[in-house]
């Protein structure tokens, strides 16, 4: 590339940037209040759209005096729906747990009045005298936002916001660099693929770039199939342009002309926002022909994955893009040399691509200064399950599990005890308390039998049965097995049958050894990651929680009181309050009746063990309990 075009690119981008900045300043003009409603899928399921509606309705004719906009997910899913308000002269305040009624009050009291309503506030973005800063929360001591920096702060459906925040600057810079230099920069940064296995990104790019042939493809893998993971969805819904910019830089580097974003069809909002983002980028000349006036052209098509877990595996993903069933095939040849339609293809995870613009902008040294020796940068986790602060978090590699679960996540709710954490979904494992102080990165997790996976982290407490967890994951992989390899197709089915026997109280002691053997065989006899890693949840639970397996087999007892067939609900007569009928009314199958003394009794034959009575029983009585094995329930008194 000659120097003249280099200058042209810089000038073309400068124009775009100045326009975006002026738009951004218009929004934050300091005259009108700005109200932002966090409305990604998670916020919407908590009622964000109703909140938005209430705000607009309450504002009525004053709408032009207030800027109301939808933003993405801030990661604080536990407090959804979130509303962020910036009133001129005041700090930016985040409000949590907002209902339509509370939203109306915020408009009345704060937008029109002067009451900042600290009772709903989670904190402020800036240091101030009114409200404590949100950064004083213990979680921010450990968190470091790279991928999540824009999330919940910008309107994902407005490209100007992303550009104003420094977006597409890296693209303009990259277009003035030689592709080899970009590969070198990414190599120096130490970026490893965030899809789970941690393969060095630069290496993949280089293989593809040096593969012969003019036609090359680039695919963004957003087929986030791990149950329990939602980072990719949140990024696509809240900051789609960061992924698109990553794709553009990667495409320029490897010499690809066409790209795909492979999103799950289960993420309709993500698909929608990606489509908007693509058309906006196109209209500004950041996508399509002769990007920023350079000779580089690239187009991106969104493709909806149809719900097959195995399609997260790259060769299966390619098969499904070609219109075939998603069956993986043997590697080599690797897609980087022979992929989509037989052409060299790079497949990168959403997060991997979203790191790229930041690395180009801030330099390799900046990125490699974060994290551990072999795993650079940050890790994004989706915290879910029995943890107080469910949601997204981003921490430097090398942070310990204890810091993530207890400091960021706020520990276990209701004073229960931590039991295990499930990392990496069906390919990962369950780690016990003893692993909590291990600094996590790609390699340390593999050593203890788990895996980074895509970053789902489900916290389990003493009420969760580890045998059931293993059965659940195996049921999932068994159903999702594509059926190509015998060990995966039939081996997982046998393993599942054994685990079902355990949870139903039909297990025998010898089964544990057979299960272990079979697990090793399935690992060895499967072609792709799905089969190879499917025994991980079983192996880790057997390794760390063998006692629970024993209780299920020898005593037909579920220590966590979870396995359906091994428990019974029982109302303690001495605790049951005669004047209270809470459980009777809520029982979904009318299995509870009062005896002569007005003490409530459960008809065990009718009971479906839904647990509604246990939730309904007022805490001052606490009369409903679970017993295991069910034979422990005393025979009903005869009178």
């Amino acid at each position: 590339m000659t120097t003249t075009t280099s200058q042209d690119i810089a000038a073309a981008f400068q124009n775009i940037k100045e326009h975006a900045l002026s738009k951004w300043q218009e929004l934050w003009d300091g005259k009108r209040p700005v109200i932002m409603v966090s409305a990604a899928t998670c916020g919407r399921s908590a009622g964000a759209l109703e909140v938005l509606e209430a705000i607009k309705d309450e504002l009525g004719g004053e709408q032009q005096d207030v800027q109301v906009m939808e933003v993405g997910c801030m990661g604080h899913c536990y407090a959804e729906p979130l509303v962020i308000i910036k009133k001129p002269g005041n700090p930016t305040i985040v409000y949590g747990y907002i209902t339509p009624e509370k939203a109306r009050r915020l408009v009345k009291d704060y937008i029109r009045g002067e009451d900042v309503s600290p009772e709903f506030a989670l904190g402020a973005f800036e240091e101030n005298e009114l409200i404590p800063s949100i950064y004083d929360l213990p979680r921010f001591k450990h968190e470091k936002y790279i991928l999540l920096e824009n999330i919940g702060r910008i309107d994902p459906e407005d490209i100007q916001h992303y550009i104003a925040k420094g977006g597409y600057e890296a693209l303009a810079k990259a277009l003035q660099m030689q592709p080899e230099d970009i590969i070198e920069e990414v190599r120096k940064s130490g970026l490893r693929g965030r899809g789970g296995a941690g393969f060095p990104a630069a290496h993949k790019w280089e293989v593809c770039r040096s593969s012969p042939g003019k036609v090359k493809f680039l695919i963004c893998n957003a087929d986030e199939g791990d149950p329990g993971a939602f980072m990719d969805r949140a990024i696509l819904e809240s900051d789609p342009h960061s992924v698109i910019e990553g794709l553009l830089i990667a495409a320029y580097t490897i010499g690809a002309r066409h790209g795909y974003i492979y999103v799950r069809a289960e993420y309709p909002l993500a698909v929608h926002r990606v489509e908007i983002a693509l058309s906006q980028a196109q209209s500004l000349g950041l996508l399509g022909k002769n990007i920023l006036g350079s000779s580089f052209s690239f187009d991106i098509k969104p493709f909806q994955g149809s719900g097959a877990f195995v399609c997260g595996e790259e060769t299966a993903l390619i098969a499904s893009l070609e219109g075939k069933p998603g069956l993986p095939h043997h590697r080599p040849p690797f897609p980087a040399s022979k992929g989509l339609n037989g052409k060299p293809t790079v497949i990168n995870n959403v997060k991997t691509l979203a790191y790229v613009p930041r690395i180009i902008r801030n330099g390799a040294e900046w990125f490699s200064s974060i994290g551990t020796e072999k795993s650079k940068g940050t890790a994004v986790f989706a915290l879910a399950g029995k943890v107080v602060n469910t949601g997204l978090t981003e921490v430097p590699m090398g942070t310990t599990l204890r810091q993530i679960i207890f400091d960021v996540g706020g520990g276990i709710p209701k004073g229960r005890r931590f039991k295990a954490v499930q990392i990496g979904g069906p390919s990962g494992g369950c780690l016990p308390e003893s692993a909590l102080d291990m600094p996590i990165d790609f390699d340390s997790l593999k050593e203890v039998g788990a895996m980074m996976g895509s970053g789902g982290m489900v916290v389990l407490d003493e009420d969760d049965c580890m045998v059931e967890v293993a059965r659940y994951f195996l049921e999932f992989t068994q159903r999702e097995s594509c059926g190509k390899c015998t060990m995966c197709r039939l081996g997982t089915r046998q393993m599942l049958a054994m685990l079902e026997d355990f949870t139903c109280g039909r297990g025998q002691m010898g089964d544990l050894d057979t299960l272990m053997e079979l697990a090793e065989d399935v690992k060895a006899g499967s072609l792709c990651g799905l089969g190879k890693t499917s025994p991980n949840p079983v192996l880790t639970t057997m390794r760390y929680f063998r006692d629970e397996y024993k209780a299920h087999i020898e005593e037909k007892r579920c220590p966590a009181l979870m396995c359906h067939d091994l428990i019974a609900y029982y109302i303690l007569p001495e605790k049951c309050e005669r004047s209270c009928d809470a459980c009777v009314g809520t029982c979904t199958v009318e299995a509870i009746s009062s005896d002569k003394k007005r003490i409530k009794v459960i008809d065990q034959a009718k009971c479906v063990k839904c647990g509604t009575c246990l939730t309904a029983c007022p805490p001052q009585y606490n009369a409903v309990i679970k017993l295991s094995p069910p034979e422990k329930v005393p025979a009903p008194a005869k009178d």
Binding site: T41, R44, F303, S306, V608, C610
Partner: protein, 184 residues
Amino acid sequence: MQGASNEPPISNAKIVNTPEEQEDIRRKTGKVLKRFNRKRENLVPILQQVQDELGYLPREAMLETAEYLRLPEVDVYGVVTFYNQFRLKPPGKHSIRVCLGTACHMKGGYILLDAWKRRLKIDRGETTSDREYDLDTVACVGCCAMAPVNVIDKKAEGRVSPTRVDGILLAYKMEKEKKEKQEQ
């Protein structure tokens, strides 16, 4: 055996559409096909759009698609049955999707599935005989923080309880009765 009961049998053969319905299916499928060229890579997007249009993939739609893309019929059927998204049965008026992702499962998603099954008297993957509701599971909708989640008519609803199941059904019933009254 418990293991075998997880996957409902595919009994598409039972659904026979009248000649008029078949004609309608072909017409609507044809409309979708016109948007695509005849490359195989369009198979999945075509099927997705046909399903959007018809709610499911009837035999006639698959045959039309196979002919258009010049593919053996079995290849189309193979793709349809491989992916979880595609339905071979007509949907109900209201779709109920129970999320069984890890977080939802651990927080009682399976209990909710039981509650729906009990109330609607159908298994996952089935439609009630009055075609009001269809019930299915979904691997994960990505709202793990709101577990357990149900997706009712494409709207995700968080922190659902078995009693909420009855509430949702009651609301639909009342809405239907109200509509019927208005029509009278």
